[in-house]
Subunit: 370 residues, 2 copies
DNA sequence: GATTTTTGTGTGTGCGCACACACTTTTATT
DNA sequence: AATAAAAGTGTGTGCGCACACACAAAAATC
């Protein structure tokens, strides 16, 4: 039961060769006579030898630099600090394996910053890249360069059609919006109006919005509820309070039977404020467990939040690359994350178990290296 | 940016002492003059030295044996194979750190087997224990012995009041049942009857059932829905088809307005069969994402499954002990797992991302050592 | 047949750390 | 003051592996 670990020495003794020969067989390095190679292979099989990863890593002393290109999070409560934390925490866990991350942050609303940080990323010459390809054209340019340079990359949060990435780790938008439809409908009266609310500043990822809208609407089509509910779409090209509230006032006054709003980004709390001011009893569903949404959930001002496992996205991205480098294991090309349904009652467990918020740091993480 | 790792050598040079002294300071071993101790501590701080865990583990060559005492899973689709897989997979990940698990399976319905396997566990003299304390009295006896022997233990799945465990990793039952109430109610008409259905074979964990019932009922009380809904509890002391179906027939015939059933264990699929046979349109909510429930969800025969992160329970248990041994980090005493709301639409992502089912094994796991 | 080249194999060193041991200096004991 | 005991410090070895190197044996070249 308490079987000691099998080492390369054990294999060498068994096969009656030196450890150097074992090494050559394992790594297909140098020349080994057919005779001894067979003996070694047999010994490995018989002893069920598995190289000690710790010793191997220590001996190799190699480092893997992972470039991370994601939006800048202005505060710890911002959505993008969650995937960042997933990356940071998980990378710290693999630190001794030589995993090092270099972060490059771009402005969520500024293509130029994406380009310039992308260039910085390339110049840093990383061994692999994790990126959120939020700008279509610019991302294509960047991945082209990465391919030229032979640098593998994974996408998180958003996919790029035909993006040639090692793996995509993120949500399946159509399904997530379909779920949104089902959930929101469950708290609405039979006959009413529903609003799909897009708020976009600057460049919009049109394809993503389209998939979300189609997923949401298809729930009502498939269930035949389309006859009872009237579903509208409103796209506001701003996230400034005055603009949004103004547009909302206009829309709401024209649709008095409005009873439910589906906010297609993480700003549902914003709409909740509007409802507060006007004392409206309208059901609200949105994305992402950011601080303001959490508070609204607790106060019953938002009914549902769909969380797309942001922490796990970062975590899995690192794990995927780690496994790719250390175990040479090719990942599956699409890794859709769980679509977590968050309501007031399961909120606390979700947060505390995943330590999403408050933003906690361990001692190790506090001592940042610069 | 590409800062080389700080080693004990660097610290020694900086503090102008030998590596042996560094070692003494770090481990509080032997005597060190106040003067040099200060110098070393300062050097460690200034260089932000963090010992390389790989090298440390390798040098120590210590093994940690973790005894695992959980119910036997008759098939890969059984509920208890999921936490087992979480334990197995995660332990494999930490294998090179010397984490070794010894499994002891007991019969879910047989206290005697719990006792005998508990004895086997103790005799194996593990360094720590992971256990599911499903039998109250017997578990208390066992934990008493573990305390005597100075062996730390964590609970998964079920807690023991005042159990002195290092940590409890599992669901908060009252909340989970409260959520069950909210979800089930969302698919029910205003006026109807609801059934809380307990099925227990042999000894029942009465306290758990009580908390579940109270959580469920409290949703209807808090929301004032208690006036519209009539909530019944039925406890069947069997899981045999004839017995259960017989009892159900009796109950259902006496409650024609029954529209929703809350099954308090993982056997919701069983009730679904009954509804099928009698062509009843009754909404169903249950626990645990076992194979049969998955199928029922897909076919729309079960409306909701609440999943208590069984895989993560096992995973977290190992991680907790690993962190406790390797980092000497005292865990928090209660780690409530997320209460995942599973519906037909988010089912697939949940399963595939967590690789819960089908039961996949990696190459490494297949080559079991005996 | 003497040589170069290729193929085959073993030995030695270091990765970063923990720990045993040897050694020197200081303090306590008689 | 002579000895014993304790405090303080450095050196060396091994954990399991990768890899450079040395060297022997076989094959190829002249």
């Amino acid at each position: 039961m308490r079987n000691r670990k099998i080492t390369i020495q054990d294999v060498a003794r068994r096969a009656q060769v030196s450890t150097g020969t074992i090494d050559r067989v394992i790594h297909n390095r140098g020349k080994v006579s057919a005779d001894k190679r067979k003996k070694v292979e047999q010994a490995i099989r018989e002893l069920n030898f598995n190289p000690n990863l710790l010793a191997r890593t220590l001996a190799l002393g190699r480092n893997f630099h992972i470039g991370v290109l994601i939006p800048y999070a202005p505060s710890p409560q911002h959505y993008w600090s969650i995937p960042a934390k997933g990356i940071e925490t998980t990378a710290a866990q693999y630190k001794d394996y030589g995993i090092v991350t270099d972060n490059f942050y771009y402005d969520l609303f500024d293509e130029a910053s994406f380009i310039s940080q992308g260039i910085n990323l390339i110049n840093a010459n990383p061994d692999a890249v994790i990126m959120a390809p939020l700008f279509l054209q610019e991302s294509k340019m960047l991945t082209g360069k990465l391919q030229e340079a032979g640098i593998p990359y994974v996408f998180i949060d958003a996919d790029l059609p035909d993006g040639q990435s090692l793996s995509y780790i993120g949500p399946e938008l159509t399904s997530s919006a379909f779920i949104a439809g089902r959930l929101l409908n469950s708290v609405l009266p039979v006959n009413c109006e529903i609003l799909i609310l897009n708020m976009v500043k600057g460049f919009a990822n049109a394809s993503a919005l389209q998939r979300i809208e189609s997923g949401f609407r298809s729930y009502f089509q498939q269930t035949g509820l389309i006859s009872e509910k009237s579903i509208h779409t409103l796209t506001i090209n701003s996230t400034r309070k005055e603009n949004v509230f103004h547009e909302l006032e206009r829309f709401y006054s024209g649709h008095p039977a409005l009873k439910g709003v589906f906010v297609t980004n993480s700003k549902a709390f914003f709409i909740s404020k509007f409802h507060d001011i006007h004392k409206l009893d309208i059901r609200l569903l949105g994305y992402d467990l950011v601080e303001e949404n959490i508070n609204c959930l607790k106060e019953g001002k938002i009914d549902f939040i769909i969380s797309q496992s942001p922490f796990q996205q970062g975590q899995r991205a690192i794990q995927t690359l780690f496994s790719y480098f250390v175990y040479k294991k090719e990942p599956v090309s699409i890794q859709h994350v769980p679509l977590d349904i968050i309501i007031r009652e399961n909120l606390d467990f979700y947060i505390s178990f995943n330590q999403i918020y408050p933003y906690e740091t361990t001692h190790e993480q506090q001592q940042k290296n610069q």
